[in-house]
Subunit: 98 residues, 2 copies
């Protein structure tokens, strides 16, 4: 079965951007089988994409071992740090996305 959730990653020195695209609306049970991409845990992760809050929730937990995690908010022109293991990027920091 082809996965309905397509992931694309892009890297900078500081973070990995994990963008997802949904070919069609997903069902909660797809959280049981989705395979998000592995990332370098010594960098941050920015999660981006149009999808349900519970998909974001799942991905945030999936990447919780990384340096920091932010979710993209297009209205802010950047991503907001929601999990952090570094004093340099506390929760609430907005990481600008070029």
């Amino acid at each position: 079965m082809q996965e309905k959730i397509k992931y694309v990653t892009e890297q900078t020195d500081e973070y990995t951007m994990v963008s997802f695209e949904l070919a069609e609306p997903i069902l909660p049970e797809e959280l049981k089988t989705t395979k998000p991409p592995e990332v370098n845990p010594t960098k941050g992760v920015i999660i981006s994409g149009r999808g349900p809050i519970w998909l974001y929730g799942y991905l945030i937990h999936f990447y919780h071992h990384t340096k920091w995690i932010a979710t993209h908010d297009p209205r802010l022109g950047g991503a907001v740090v929601v999990v952090s293991h570094t004093a340099l990027k506390p929760c609430g920091t907005v990481v600008q996305i070029p």
Copy 2:
């Protein structure tokens, strides 16, 4: 300063529902000062409310030590488990909300 994020909790035998309400749109920096309510970690937590994905992300991490965490999705009539430490409620489970 009064907090812009108001939290209300309700308990069942199985989980604590943490509902938030925003008196006005919040800024990312408010994640630095918000004080979500403490909950019983031996139960699950359901997070509910209208707000940005990054507020959900922050709350999901805040409660990650609890038995399981689900986010309310009104379209599904329930909440979807996104973090789980119990085989009885794996990720993707929909918890009906009466």
